[in-house]
Amino acid sequence: MLKKPKKTNSGISRRELLQTTGALIVGFNILKPVASLAQQQEIPGIAAVPDGMASVPYDNPDYLDPRVLDSWLSVKTDGMITIGTGKVDIGTGIETAMGQIAAEELDVPFERVHVVMGDTVKTVDQGRTAGSQTVARAGPQVRQAAAAARMELLKLASAKLGAPVDKLTVSDGVVSVVGDSSRKVTYGELIGGKQFNVKITATGVQGAMVVAPEVKAKNYKDYKVVGKSIRRVDIPAKLTGEFRFTPDVRVPGMLHGRVVRPRNVISGAPTVDESSVSHIAGLVKVVKEGSFVGVVAQTEWAAIQAAKALKVTWPQPEHKLPFTREDVDTYLTTQKSARDATGVNKGDVDAALTKGVRTFEAAYHWPFQMHGMMGPCCSVADVRADGATVWTGAQGPFTTRDRIASLLKVPKRNVVVNFAESAGSYGRLTADDTAEDAVVLSRAVGKPVRVQWMREDEHVWSPKGPQQLQTAKAAVNADGKIIAWEYIDRGFPWSESQGTPQLAERQIGIKTKLLGNPNGANGGGETYDIENQRVTGRTIPWPQDDPSPIRTCALRSPGEPPRIFASESFMDEIASGMGVDAVEFRLKHLKSKRVAELVEASAKKAGWAPRPSPAQETPGPIAKGRGIAVAQRGGTIIVAISEVEVEKATGKITVKKVTIGHDCGLIVNPDGLRGQLDGNVMQGISRVLMEEVVFDHSGAKSLDWVSHPVIRFKQVPEVDAVLINRPEFPASGAAEPSVVVIPASVANAVHDAIGVRLRHVPLTPQKVLNAMQQKLSAKA
């Protein structure tokens, strides 16, 4: 069975806390009562609402009851503590961060805490790992459970030592009497190997669950473990091949499966010529169910060969969405919104738009993009008559369990999902496709089946971050102040991300009635104090019921890189148009002192000298420029200052340096945070300069790393960071926010360098050349 990596010399054994971004930032709330923390501001895009399949976990045999202390943690006789969390580590370091939070509250060394993640039998459902909410929301849940456990341990120690609780102190898991350290007892001696059998308070579900609010947690001023750059527990084993990722799960009697799908929309069952694979030794079965086609074989190589050789003729695809980016933009503009998210709505925008001395108007275009997991998704399923056991890298193990229970028509508790870490998934595994593939194949052959997608399966069939379109208008008065701002974002919902039926389910005939996660409005300019402002995020329903290679799901900070690319490019256009320095212009409009402080600190660190943009033209083959972008996301404030070079002859953009400013309240693990910033800078540059998923009537065109290039070593810029630690504020997320500011900062720097404004992502050399040519023609 799946072996978890053992603790290593460096004391790391599992990863933890941080959640989507995975940094080791453990942020959580210290000053506010927990209840208010859990109920704090909604995070646009992914709110703390349960997914479409979640049930109430109280007095429900399908769930560990969050009101039972033993659901959260256990103590072994040797004093080792196991913490359970329904969250999972997707490469951001949350295993370590959760361990830090628990160790802190329990007053035990970090090395003595072991974290179990994403096990539907052994852990509480804390919601999917998404939205950079693990530290922010699940962190306080674990912290309060640990604080409640500490209190119970003190009560037990009080009885054993014959001293009142307020005369006891804890150090390294040893309880002793204040003033008489000879009277002591360890956690292991108090409860090791036994259950607490104690009820605690818990209300709400998943991310909105409030745990033991009556228990007073530690004051941040007393922290010894939280706030330290503790090394990640998972890293040594990952470097030596000892770590077990999802593809390394092996169970007795396991067979290997592969799925067969076309490069186009699936609009019905295909015809399958089984004789085309009869020559393959080790083939067990060709599985057909509805439009689902897969193969099962004794060996992985035989399964791969069979899937490749199987002759499948697919029916004509029925397309419900146009193909060109322009036509999809038109579709987004003309279709009725299913839900409008309002970011800001104040003043009389329409009237104020007519009253400025200058007006501005622009549209910004963002393409379909992909997560591009380094390892394609992979799962193992063992289906029995009454249920199933599944090993998978799902970001929502409970969602996977519930979908599979629905597919198999068995009670949820008859399906057990064990998390095993996948390649970094950045939102992609909110849609757990291979789990369902493996279940359908295992059910067909009556044996455990491992399914791993091939590279083309992943590039073509992974759900995508959807195309988005933004339009913006503004008016500026004689004092150079923006007096009117209208901003509209149009996008599709993340159709696979809300507990909706996944690919295999749809192929075997299960339809969805859910919209998916609707679009949000965050990042449309709400950071600025503008008297008349309207910011709207429209959700245009996803029209394609048939499985499609461009079906959609959450992609790192869903919706926000496009929205902030637009709003912060637009802000820059206005500043430039008014002949005002980009930093100065933003400072003039910012609402929050905290945001302004980060902008100033970042500009200082980057050596920003005030001047209007674009920069003066310089002779020579290279033009240089710098650009800034500012945003807030789920309580986190982010600033990026990018410095670029543009090769005039080729239009090639090189990002030389990025200075990233970050304020997420309390920083739980500074080194982990810095690592997440590196990653977001790199992904942000890749997405703005290079990435676009191409799909047309003949099918998917982005098939692999050659047809769909991403950033590489030669494009690594210098990365500098400005971290502002504010322990008096709750920790907000850090895995996603910093990606949102990179695209606009780069586009603004390109404008600064060559004086042309690029509003269509990705900013390819050809687009740069075209824009430069247009500028020259306009001059002539």
């Binding site: 995975g22 490469g91 470097l239 030596t240 091949g241 390892g375 990653g679 992904q683 070593f713």
Partner: protein
């Protein structure tokens, strides 16, 4: 099926396999060496890299029979978490891993670079590592880790 003899991490192994099977699947499924990873199966990403007679080889497209009688080293052949190779230790010290799925390709290709050029410049590191993909964007720390390893591996060589 046929008998294929492989020398992996210093141990001779004889297996009864389809000899056209790419080495990656033999290492992973028959020898249960999880270091080399399936990333693309197309020799595009480097996650499956092993070292064969001192050269970095993409095991996902290398038929097992073509590496018979050659010295194959996998990530497991460098060190363990209890006793890591200086290169692995440098990555631990720099915390140069996010998800870690690509790390096999990164470390094995860095090993070949440092064996050939013990003192690479940053540009040489970038040039050598450019074909190897990392999707989490851990590149800046990986470059630092390789530089660190170049420093820490020197004294070990001097002694040898």
């Amino acid at each position: 099926m046929a008998k294929v003899s492989l020398n992996v991490n210093g141990k001779a192994r004889t297996l009864d396999i389809d000899p056209t099977t790419p080495l990656l699947y033999i290492l992973r499924n028959d020898l249960e060496l999880n270091g080399p990873r399936f990333g693309c199966g197309l020799a595009q990403c480097g996650a499956c890299t092993v070292i064969v007679d001192g050269k970095a080889v993409r095991s996902c497209v290398t038929p097992a029979r073509t590496v018979e009688k050659k010295a194959i080293t996998t990530l497991e052949g460098l060190g363990t978490s209890a006793k890591p190779h200086p290169l692995q230790q440098a990555f631990i010290d720099e915390q140069a891993v996010q998800c870690g799925f690509c790390i096999n390709g990164i470390v094995m290709n860095a090993k070949v670079l440092l064996d050939k050029n013990p003192n690479p410049t940053i540009d040489q590191i970038k040039e050598h590592m450019d074909p190897i993909l990392c999707r989490c964007g851990t590149h800046p720390r990986m470059i630092k880790a390789i530089q660190r390893a170049a420093t820490t591996m020197k004294p070990a060589k001097a002694k040898a």
